[in-house]
Amino acid sequence: MIRTSVTSSNVASVGYDYESSTLEIEFNNGSVYQYFDVNERVYEELLAASSVGGYLASNIKGIYRYSKV
């Protein structure tokens, strides 16, 4: 999956697969996670958010299931 770099205190880059609705997050420490069944809209909002870390904390963490890659 191709990820776009973002500026954030904890997230390094973000990617999305439209086919499987999978959101991929790379944290600044190099670990990569995939969130499953994430709406396309959420991905776009995440990219556009003024604080990526904040949006991730309030709208993704604790809501979608994920796996470390």
Partner: protein, 624 residues
């Protein structure tokens, strides 16, 4: 000449390498400045220097205070509690070169001095020599690199020990990272036995990873691990396939049959180096174990029509299935034949009897049969390219297997053994190590042999398979490696959190120790007794070491050193970090998606959880 700043006291008693000294009244302060650097006097584990003529003797402080008074001095002691015990370790010339061992002893009245950072640098540091690798820095002196002599590290074996969570895996990956530096050591050759699949991620750029049921997705670099059954020696083969035998006779029958099959293979497909005269049952020559099993099964359980003409074996009484086909079984699939029951009725002319001279190895054959059927054992019995056809034909020989393992372009090979069934883990590791050992031992004169391109074998979680409890194959081979491997370029690095469970012969042959925090006193005493130096003072520090801090001592280092191991870069650390229960930083800053501090997802998916368990692969199918 005496340097008053560094002066500590005088030698009072010399007993072997143990020296008792009294502190002088002048160095009362306990804190001295030398060249602007502050030093605490009398820290256990710190170094002292005793100038003797043109040389300096070096020692480590192992005891301070009242208990350091020599026994016969207790009554008439005049200097109070101001005693120290020193363990002598080596000698330095005035020009700074340092070596282990002593050519002379100090004597009464010799001055004892503190060792300053500059002097320490002379002893420890030779960073320009390419055969030294840096694994971190000396604990109380950040500017001094902790250097390890790889010549001694590899061939004289080493052990990394520490309580879980003390930084063992990080230490190992740091060392491996340093050793696999492609610019410095373009031909480095390291093989790692990884029992829990921890290192794959950490070393993925430098390593080939072999795993049972490898992840085949395009992003993964894992390859399938195979250990062909015919490469095992007879004992290993029995252990893995047949289990125990009731008596020697049964074992001999199998031995003869295996030998004969190997013989037949060799006649049909001659192999260079092997000849009929020298062939033994242990020779790595392919044979068809499936057919052997099928034949033995018939000879053990078979029944035959007694009245028919010809040999009993040609008149086997197979049971018929629903479509009236004889159930002869399928050797390749491990399906046994089914025979009719014995029949000897008076009026019935059809008599069925057991085969004459039938074998008594039913239990062993049933066991092997089930292993031939269960896919978990396929890495041994159906090793893909190394599978054997009826007549002994193989697609690839052992050379390609070894080339994959130790002859590839990458310096490190990780053998991920997380998928090996626990009942055969010991034997599998034993077999694997023996294959490597024999190959490198016999090839010792060749450029790819052990003497010319030494191999370092890293054994993770060694207490699982190198214990004394069982007479394990792994212990036997590793004992051989640690005793004789030095000569043939095969070095072992034993990694364990429970050194007291490791066979003491193996531990005592390790020349270099990386001792991380060890709290358990049994483990500690095991390490202390395995050390060649008389360094109680240093090993006494083991329970209070910080995470990531190690005492390195032995052959690969000039002096025992308390070291801060430099962790590898964040994306190259092993997957053994402690899970975060509650992240120290807030959820918006956290680089952790989970933990107890974040609310749980609404529809937790336990199907995927079971999927990983069933597939024995932590990666679910959904991940592309």
């Amino acid at each position: 000449m005496p340097n008053k700043e560094t002066y500590l006291g005088d030698v009072q008693d010399v007993n072997g390498t143990t020296v008792s000294i009294t502190l002088s009244k002048q160095s009362l302060t306990g804190f001295v400045y030398i060249n602007g650097q502050g030093y605490r006097v009398g820290q256990i584990g710190s170094f002292i220097r005793i100038p003797v003529g043109f040389n300096d003797l070096f020692g480590i402080i192992s005891q301070v205070g009242a208990s350091a008074i020599p026994k016969n001095q207790v009554d008439n002691d005049t200097s109070g509690n101001r005693w120290m015990t020193i363990q002598l370790i080596g000698e330095g010339q005035r020009n700074g070169t340092f070596q282990r061992g002593l050519s002379q002893y100090p004597t009464i009245g010799d001055e004892v001095h503190l060792v300053s950072e500059n002097e320490l640098k002379n002893i420890y540091g030779q960073p320009d020599k390419p055969y030294f690798v840096k694994v971190g820095h000396i604990s109380n002196a950040d500017s001094i690199p902790a250097l390890i002599d790889i010549n001694k590290l590899v061939t004289r074996h080493s052990a990394v020990v520490g309580t879980t969570g003390s930084g063992k895996s990080t230490t190992v990956s740091s060392i491996i990272n340093a050793l696999s530096d492609n610019n410095k050591y373009p031909s480095a050759r390291i093989i790692m036995l990884d029992l829990h699949g921890e290192y794959g991620n950490a070393l993925k750029n430098k390593a080939n990873i072999y795993k049972i049921n490898a992840d085949k997705s395009p992003s993964s670099i894992e390859k399938d691990l195979y250990i062909p059954f015919w490469a095992l020696n007879f004992d290993e083969l029995c252990e893995i396939s047949f289990g125990d035998f009731n008596n020697e006779k049964d074992k001999n029958i199998i031995l003869e049959r295996v030998q004969k099959l190997k013989n037949n293979t060799l006649i049909k497909y001659p192999k260079k180096g092997a000849s009929i005269d020298t062939l033994s049952v242990d020779s790595p020559i392919p044979f068809d174990i499936h057919n052997l099993w099928h034949e033995l099964f018939i000879e053990t359980f078979g029944t035959y029509y007694k009245k028919n003409a010809g040999k009993p074996i040609d008149n086997l009484a197979y049971e018929r299935d629903d479509s009236n086909v004889e159930m002869k079984g399928d050797p390749k699939k491990g399906i046994p034949p089914v025979f009719r029951n014995v029949k000897d009725d008076k009026d019935d002319n059809e008599k069925i009897n057991y085969l004459p001279g039938s074998l008594n190895i039913g239990k062993q054959l049933t066991l092997l049969g089930s292993k031939l059927r269960i896919p978990r054992y396929d890495f041994i019995f159906k090793p893909n390219d190394w599978s054997v056809e009826n007549d002994g034909k193989i697609k690839s020989d052992l050379d390609t297997l070894l080339k994959d393992w130790i002859g590839s372009d990458k310096p490190v090979t990780i053998l991920d053994l997380s998928g090996v069934p626990p009942d055969i883990l010991q034997t599998t590791i034993g077999a694997l190590l023996r294959i490597l050992y024999e190959a490198l031992f016999w090839a010792r004169n060749l450029s790819q042999g052990g003497r010319h391109r030494p191999l370092l074998i890293v054994m993770e979680e060694a207490h699982i398979y190198l214990n004394d409890d069982q007479k394990g194959m792994a212990s036997t081979v590793v004992k051989r490696i640690v005793k004789e491997g030095r000569k043939y370029g095969i070095g072992a690095m034993i990694v364990s959190q429970r050194p007291s469970e490791i066979n003491s012969t193996i531990l005592s042959q390790c020349g270099t120790f990386f001792a991380l925090r060890l709290t358990n006193s049994t483990d500690r005493s095991h390490i202390t007794s395995a050390l060649s130096d008389n360094l109680d003072g240093l090993t006494g520090m083991l329970p209070i070491l910080r995470t990531g801090e190690a005492i390195i001592l032995g052959e690969a280092v000039k002096l025992p050193m308390r070291t801060f191991i430099e962790p590898p870069p964040k994306n190259a650390r092993p997957d053994s970090q402690d899970p975060i229960v509650f992240d120290e930083v807030g959820v918006e800053e956290s680089q952790n998606p989970g933990g107890w501090g974040i609310s749980m997802e609404i529809n937790p998916n336990y199907e995927e959880l079971i999927e990983t368990w069933r597939s024995q692969n932590p990666k679910i199918d959904k991940i592309k």
